[in-house]
């Protein structure tokens, strides 16, 4: 085989490896793209603490809260108030009621989404239950807070924003020790389930 052929083969093999790598690079690229542009209604699952975001003379925005249960998630999950009126540049705390209606200990993760999607970049959260996973004992309930603010650059065409949460069942049912341990006795032992209280990976 001549040198030219060897060179072509080498180049093509690099191209194949490069495109395989590129397919994985698409994942962070896509997330960055969506976060920068606010497309897809994606918002950061992490607290933002922007200085000078609070102002006094903000305009009115109506916020609707929507809750969904993913698939067969049996918990009760609903916003305390369906609709609130807030001003841009002012912090507001809203709460969601959640109850584990089953007879087993479960772990849940709520995923937020904002509509219209171009409002997503302007919605900042100081605190949100969606930043961590929720673990509830059988029959246990809780009031989950979200502390949010709209910055003043929210496009003037947007007067009403929908903030939707979908709650997912992320209990690790394969972890027999975890489920049995917690169902047998309700003593909390941190060493057994470190893995279940991780920050959500983004």
């Amino acid at each position: 085989m001549n040198e030219g052929s060897k060179k072509t083969i080498r180049t093509l093999c690099f191209a194949v490896l490069g495109m395989f790598t590129f397919s994985f690079a698409l994942v962070p690229l896509y997330n960055v793209f969506c976060e920068v542009t606010g497309l897809n209604g994606k918002i950061e699952l992490r607290a933002t603490n922007v200085k000078n975001i609070e102002i006094d003379n903000g305009r009115d925005v109506s916020v609707q809260f929507v809750s969904h249960n993913n698939e067969e998630m049996p918990w009760t999950f609903k916003p305390s108030e369906d609709n609130i009126q807030i001003k841009t540049g002012k912090y507001h705390t809203a709460t969601f009621y959640v109850k584990n209606t089953t007879n087993k200990r479960m772990v849940a993760q709520a995923i937020p989404s904002v509509a219209p999607s171009n409002a997503a970049a302007h919605l900042k959260k100081l605190e949100c239950f969606c930043f961590e996973q929720q673990e509830l004992a059988p029959g246990e309930d809780a009031l989950l807070p979200v502390r949010l603010i709209f910055d003043d650059e929210l496009p003037s065409s947007i007067n009403s924003v929908v903030l939707s949460y979908t709650i997912f069942d992320v209990t690790d049912y394969n972890d027999v020790e975890f489920t049995q341990h917690h169902n047998d006795d309700h003593h909390h032992d941190d060493s057994h389930h470190d893995g279940h209280e991780m920050e959500p990976s983004i």
Partner: protein, 528 residues
């Protein structure tokens, strides 16, 4: 293109193929491997076709009659996967193996042993895929597009076998493409510049580059699925911070170039056949090359037209709409060139020409329905209806598959040394032509009327056209048995073919005798 063979003394190296079964197992000969690919793809065509007939039998009448909905979904999925990866792609690779070395005046493919490997892993891939039918939970049932999380969270356990099968198919395609590119770039006969290459060679060069670019992306997509299913990652799982829409972006970034992979070699084939039977030089050779290159490049920036309804922002919908419509320009150039080649030619209508003309007409119909689908606001109505099914079957069946059949009739005298039975060939053509149109044309109407795709049962108002469509499907399916008979009859014997075979044939492959000797062009020919 004229060519002179300086010394074609085949007596010197007259060692033919080895004897017995090991000839096919160990062969590194491009002609043997080409035949293996073609026979394999025909077997897959019949298996995938049988699955299509299960689908059409169930849809013959409204209501559930023959199969369970779960099994219907498995048939739907396997039909798509087998036809795309098992029938159309290997058939084109088989044609490339047979023809590319002969057309560029090379003695064989550049990497003959890798050629053997890339074929022989394919039967294993499809054995794994088909064996999933007998597994607990059944075969993959999520459609050939395997959207996550349908193919991850909600998939049957056999999805892991599906993933490995796709990995093997991808490896086979990538090796095949490397082989084709290295052969074309480095082994052309002296004097054959790039712009003197036959169009089939050009079409395959471009196709091979597309394969190199997108098959690794498909491998990446299924690898991510594998990791989501077994290793606890969350690429496509919203609960873990992933995104199901990301799957569709990655899949269609592969998927749209993939549909051109299945049509570009057909463009090359149609150009040769129309040129030959019009007894005229092809009109606009250079524009044909540029049109294929433009189509290939544009194919990377139109993927999101498959997902207009996922909630793209307006700017993206407009961009993908215009980019998609732009593809109609180079495609229109090609259709114009084919028609102009036929214009005032001394046309005869042998079977390959009939298939090629039908290809031009019916592929154009499929292209027009594609343009309708490209209109974003209209797509919201057409999305996931039978109109889409009609569209892509028009470009794939009378498009890709008719071109493959045309190629078989056109080159089989060169492969076997025998002429096929012209009367039976024409009968096969007319049965296929009527069958294909009766099957798929009514699907435009029921799609526009709102019948969704991928369902085993439907509302009563769609009953009549579905029945007609099913009748057409069985006609088309049965006529392929005739095709098998014609091919076997030609292999066994028939009127002896001359080296030129056709009166107006042009190109190096027609300068060697028929059947083509086991080794051709061991001394490179000179191309002026």
């Amino acid at each position: 293109m004229s060519a002179v063979i300086e010394s074609h003394n085949h007596d010197d190296h007259h060692h033919g193929p080895a004897k017995g079964l090991t000839r096919w197992l160990y062969t590194t000969n491009h002609k043997d491997i080409g035949s293996l690919y073609l026979w394999f793809s025909f077997a897959m065509f019949l298996i995938g076709g049988a699955m299509a007939l299960v689908i059409r039998a169930e849809l013959f009448q409204p209501g559930m009659q023959i199969v369970e909905p779960e099994f219907y979904n498995q048939m739907l999925t396997l039909h798509g996967l087998i036809m795309v990866f098992g029938a159309v792609m290997p058939a084109f690779v088989g044609l490339a193996n047979w023809l590319v070395p002969m057309m560029v005046g090379a003695p064989d493919m550049a990497l003959p042993r890798m050629n053997n490997l890339s074929f022989w892993i394919l039967p294993f891939a499809f054995f794994i895929l088909l064996s999933s039918l007998f597994m607990e939970g059944g075969a993959p049932n999520f459609g050939w597009t395997f959207y996550a999380p349908l193919s991850t969270t909600y998939a049957p356990p056999s999805v892991t076998f599906f993933i490995f099968a796709v990995h093997i198919m991808g490896a086979s395609s990538i090796m095949g493409s490397i082989n084709v590119i290295v052969t074309i770039m480095n082994m052309r006969a002296p004097g054959m510049t790039l712009m003197k290459m036959p169009l089939f060679v050009w079409s395959w060069l471009i196709t091979a580059y597309l394969l190199i670019a997108v098959m690794p992306v498909l491998a990446g997509a299924v690898t991510m699925m594998l990791m989501d299913i077994h290793f606890g990652t969350s690429f496509f799982n919203a609960a873990g911070g992933g995104d199901p829409v990301l799957f569709q972006h990655i899949f269609w970034f592969f998927g749209h170039p993939e549909v051109y992979i299945m049509i570009l070699p057909a463009f090359g084939i149609a150009s040769h056949i129309i040129e030959t039977f019009s007894r005229k030089q092809l009109f606009g050779y250079a524009s044909m090359v540029w049109a294929m290159a433009s189509i290939a490049i544009l194919s990377f920036v139109v993927w999101a037209h498959h997902m207009f309804t996922v909630g793209l922002p307006l700017a993206a919908e407009l961009f993908f709409m215009w980019a998609t419509m732009l593809i109609a320009v180079p495609t229109g150039v090609k259709v114009f060139n084919w028609v102009t080649t036929m214009f005032k030619g001394s046309i005869t209508y042998e079977t390959p020409m009939l298939f090629a003309i039908a290809f031009v007409v019916l592929f154009t119909i499929g292209g027009f329905s594609g343009l309708m689908l490209a209109i974003t606001p209209a797509d919201f109505q057409y999305h996931d209806t039978y109109f889409v099914v009609a569209h892509f079957h028009y470009v794939l069946v009378p498009g890709s598959i008719f071109s493959i059949m045309a190629a078989v009739y056109y080159w089989i005298p060169k492969w076997t040394g025998n002429m096929y039975d012209e009367r039976l060939g024409k009968l096969h053509f007319w049965l296929s032509f009527v069958g294909v149109n009766v099957t798929f044309f009514p699907q435009h109407w029921i799609g526009l009327a709102g019948m969704p795709r991928r369902i085993p049962d439907y509302a009563l108002q769609f009953a009549d056209w579905n029945m007609i469509s099913s009748v057409g499907a069985f006609l088309f399916g049965a006529s392929q048995i005739l095709f098998l008979f014609i091919v076997l009859k030609t292999v066994m014997g028939g009127k002896k073919a001359t080296p030129e075979v056709w009166e107006g044939s042009r190109g190096l492959e027609w300068t060697v005798e028929s059947p083509a000797p086991y080794h051709t062009f061991t001394t490179p020919p000179k191309v002026s």
